[in-house]
């Protein structure tokens, strides 16, 4: 028995932080991910696809998005899609699920109630659909007493595992050993956007298309193969995601070459489908700081999105740097006093940041004046 496990597609997610083009591209990528799931499932001879919640990002997504999603699922008529509500599109979104119920193609099955869904004569899907955004109770408990005969017992649930919590910090209620307790062959989980194995029978598939700088590994789905009921499943990651989200936390040190360090952390290929958030930490001299800023400005357009956080990067006093402002006199005295103001001792973080910006700016202007 073979099927594809996915979740957290979050169709129609807004991505408001990004510019319009990027937003449109990221949204389109999610619908594309749905199609790719179908293609991968067909290519790998999966019998069905389980979507363990959060297919949609909101309780009332635009009907166009719902329509397109259902159309995409309909493009694979031999493939069964089992759709379960998550916490973003919980059972409380009555209107949404009514629309889907009305407009879905025949190969889409809705897991809206905690009742066994029989697929063929050998599979029993036991869904635990969230009734509201944060149910706060363990909805998987019913699986233990569910009579499924000889069928494979595949559970679907959405939410946080008791051990480490939910993606969005909601109350975690699913016991990590639910699969074992309820004699499930596999428990397909949604909510956590990164692929993760809880137990050999319990997995988060993660999002098929990444949606944030969360440091999750490559976005994709899971191909689950179970030879016989009771045997351990073979779970294989299936890459799906179009965009690569990278969060780089780099520590810089004065006296080193930050440009080189940054270059080493960035891949040269696939930049146009990569979104980067650089969190610069450490300390650099003024010149090095300036060089790093310049290179970041230059490479921004190489990537689909490139963002830098400078708050964690301090200024290191290097004599030559301050000499580049002035070797002495009032200008140097001003540079020295500004540099002293970048010391965190006895100062607020904001004051230190302001002083750093001031000193950096002085450096730039002084250099420009010198070059003129």
């Amino acid at each position: 028995m073979r099927f594809l496990h996915t979740a957290d597609i979050h169709l129609a997610k807004p991505f408001g932080r990004f510019d319009e083009d990027t937003r449109a591209a990221l949204r389109a990528a999610r619908l594309d991910a749905l199609r790719k799931l179908g293609e991968e499932a067909c290519a790998r001879h999966a019998e069905f696809i389980l979507i363990a919640g959060d297919t949609f990002d909101a309780e009332a997504p635009p009907s166009k998005v719902v329509r397109r999603a259902l159309d995409i699922m309909g493009e694979f008529p031999d493939l069964l899609w089992v759709l379960m509500p998550g916490n973003h599109d919980s059972r409380a979104a009555v209107d949404l699920w009514e629309r889907i119920e009305k407009d879905k193609p025949d190969n889409v099955v809705l897991a809206l109630t905690p009742e066994i869904i029989e697929i063929g004569d050998h599979v029993a899907v036991l869904p635990a659909p969230p009734t509201v955004r944060n149910p706060g109770v363990d909805l998987t408990e019913w699986m233990t007493g569910a009579e499924t005969g000889e069928r494979f017992r595949i559970g679907i649930a959405h939410g946080g595992i008791l051990d480490f919590g939910s993606e969005e910090g909601a109350v975690a209620v699913i016991p990590p050993d639910r699969a074992e307790r309820s004699s499930l062959d596999y428990l397909a989980l949604g909510d956590w956007h990164g692929q993760m194995s809880i137990t050999p029978r319990t997995w988060y598939s993660g999002s098929p298309e990444a949606d944030g700088f969360k440091g999750h590994p490559q976005a994709g789905a899971l191909l689950v193969e179970i030879a016989r009921s009771g045997e351990a499943p073979l779970v294989t990651p299936v890459p799906i995601g179009q965009f690569d989200w990278k969060i780089l936390k780099l520590d810089f040190f004065a006296g080193t070459d930050p440009v080189e360090q940054l270059a080493g952390a960035l891949s040269n290929s696939g930049r146009d489908s990569t979104l980067v958030r650089l969190e610069a930490k450490g300390r650099l001299g003024l010149l090095e700081h300036s060089q790093l800023r310049d290179v970041c400005d230059r490479i921004t357009d190489d990537f689909h999105f490139f963002e830098v956080s400078w708050e964690g990067l301090g200024i290191e006093q290097v004599v030559d740097d301050l000499d580049l402002i002035a070797e002495g006199g009032a200008l140097r005295a001003a540079a020295d006093s500004l540099f002293a103001a970048t010391d965190l001792q006895g100062r607020s973080t904001e004051d230190v940041q302001v002083a750093q910006i001031a000193l950096t700016h002085l450096f730039h202007i002084a250099r420009e004046e010198t070059e003129q």
């Binding site: 997610k13 635009p62 009555v94 002495g328 006199g329 302001v354 001031a358 700016h361 004046e369």
Partner: protein
Amino acid sequence: MKLRMLELTNVRRFGGQKARLGPFGDGLTTITAENEVGKSTFFDALHALLFVAHGSSSQEAKNLQPYSGGAAKVAAEIEIDGKNFRIEKTFNAQKSAKVIDSATGQVIKQQGDAEAWIEENVNRANKGPTGLLWVRQGAIHVDPEGKDKDSSNVAARRDLMSSVRGQIDAVTGGRRMDKIVERCRKELDAMATKTLKAKAGSPWKQAEDKVEELLGQKERLLKDVAMLSQALNTKRRTKTRLRELQNPQKQAERAQQIADATEAFQKAEQHDRSVQDAEKALQLFVAEKDRLIRQIKDITDTQNRRSQLADEVTQRAADVSDSETAQKEADKALTDAQAVIAAKVTERRHLVTSLTAARQNERSRQKWDRLRKIAELAAELAIPQDKLGDAKAILRGPDVTQSDLDHLVDLGRRISIAQEQRRAQFASFSVRPSGTSEAEIDGEAVKPDIEILVDRPLDLHLSGFGRICLRPAAGSGKGIEDPEALQVEHDAALKELGFETLQLARDACNARQHALNDKSVAVAEIRGLAPDGPDALNEEWQTLCAELGHPPDEQLPTQSAPKATDASDLSAEQIEEKIASIDQELEELRSDITDLQMAATEAASETAKANGVLNHLLQEQISSTKPQGEDAELAALENARDIEIDKEDVAKQAYDDLREDAPNLQVARSTHERLLSAENADRDEINTLERVLARVDGAIETQSEGAVEEKLAEVGDQLEKASERAGRYEMQAKALTMLIDHLDTARKDAQETYFEPIRNELRPLLAQLHAEADFELDPEKMLVSKIIRNGVEDDINVLSGGAYEQIAILTRLAFAKLFAKQGRHVPIILDDALVHTDDERISTMFNMLSQAAQDQQIIVLSCRTRAFSDLGGTRAFIETDAI
């Protein structure tokens, strides 16, 4: 610090060579050598040694490299506070730095530590600008014979001053600082207001406006999302409720309940109607029975009443008789009282008449008494009246007052005094003719033995003798009154008074005084006897005589006044007492009359009432005569009553039986109504819910098509980003403000540190060169901007090159002196610094340099060997060796 020696190895023009320059003395050291020997190279190297880090890749370091390349090494022997050190640095390759204790040859610091040592002991010791005390050679060669002499001169001067300026600028930051500050201010001004708020039109303001706009959108979207959420919740609840209401099983159960309840209710209603009918029948029998009972009672009551009436009539007749008797007694009492009052009134009338007569008698007696009194008074009045008449007669005479007398006496006195004075002053003579001789004065014979005063010119004729002219002495008689004039005045006064002599006047005056006294006394006596005056008394006499009928001129009779008629023996007071007593009795009697009248009225009323009651009873008696057949009627009624009682018993039993079996109509009704009501309520609720559902479906469709949730999330993200952007601008503004503050503060500190002391040091120096000249320092640039000589102000730019360079040197000297005063000794290095100075001024400059060199190490480099040969001081030379 003092320089002792410089050594260069493979530096610039000394590539492949080691060159030494020195020794440098404590005071003035002169190094004269032709151009391009490398003098400036030494000092460029010295500057790099002191102020460029050995590891630096700066242009200054690179400039030390010779053409052939390689490491450039610079060393200097210096003295600090009596100790000698050697500083070495290697630039560009094999970079290193060392500080060596010259006494021991030990390396005391290396590399970074050496840099720090130099900074601390050489540069920082100045606590001031680096390179300040240098006067560098002009960058442009001055060619006096060249075509563009003026412009090249100006350029040379400008370059010279700019080297000064550049080094002073190093203190204050100079133009570079100005540009930086100006740029910062412009940037700040472009983005922020004076109060550090976003300026209108600036990117910051746009960012803030964007944040505001997004906040507005977010607020609106939150409402929309809330509405959507509410609509979804409402739909959820509505559908759940509809399912409950439209449950078929529940509906079937309800229908059955309603049917059962309806049947039960109908049965209960029918039974209830039967009970009501039985009750009505019972009530009819009871009503009939009551009517018969009332009729029976009426007849028996009438019979009872009839027997009562006879007794009452008898009683009432007795009452009437009693009332009439009482009425008669009351009337009699009233009549008696009225008679008594009438008698008392008559008595009083008589007494009043007697009182009038008694009063009349009293008045007559009083008049007679008064008349006698007046006669007595008149007799007494005669004496004072006579006295008064006499006094008045005297007073009518001449009015001589005491002042008149005093005036006469005074005149007499003056006359005497004048006479005495005349006698004293004037000579006098008398004649006693003998025989028939005669003497005449002014034709008048002179009586013998009469003293004659010579108070005027006199011509005394003596018969037989002749004339003797007598003249008073000059001035005699001055101030003496004329006694004759006085006498005339005296006599006139007497005559005016009407007397011949003073004594007569005096007697008259005395008599007058007495008369006045007598008059006063008489007037007082008369007033005492007749306060209103004798005339009033007389008038009263006349009046009383007329009233009493007595002739006023006749004497009064001696007997008492006659009595009036109708006068009683009682006095008026006694009569008045009696009248008062009768009045009191009358008052009491009248009060009693009122009570008697009320009693009589009451008695009459009672009598009338008793008569009225009696009449009423008599009429009733007549009307209640027993009719025929009354007894038979009564018996029939009693019989009918008994029959009705039986019927009533039967009907009551039937009614009680029905009531006992009755179902609870209230319960059946309420159950039936409740079920119907619930059914209707469910129906209504279903209708309402369906309408609600239609409405929320519309709202959900609208909001979901509007993608409000997505838009809210999107706006939230955008808002976060916009807020970050606005925050960055704010930080930028703060940073610019901080930057400008620090720059301004540093510049101000530099100015304060250097400006004023510089002025104080420079002024006396400049005075040596330009007597009575003053200058203005540009505080921004710390350069002399104007020089004022003989009241004429010249801008520094128009000065000659020589004046320019002199001022530059003097500025250095001023700094050096300043540092020296602060205990910091810094060498001054003048590298071809007096190239434009004329001979006269150069001499002055030499003097000043020499003076300064007494406390200051000054190293002078010049290519003008001859000119500088007069400078004096230690001479140093450049020596070179191949490496």
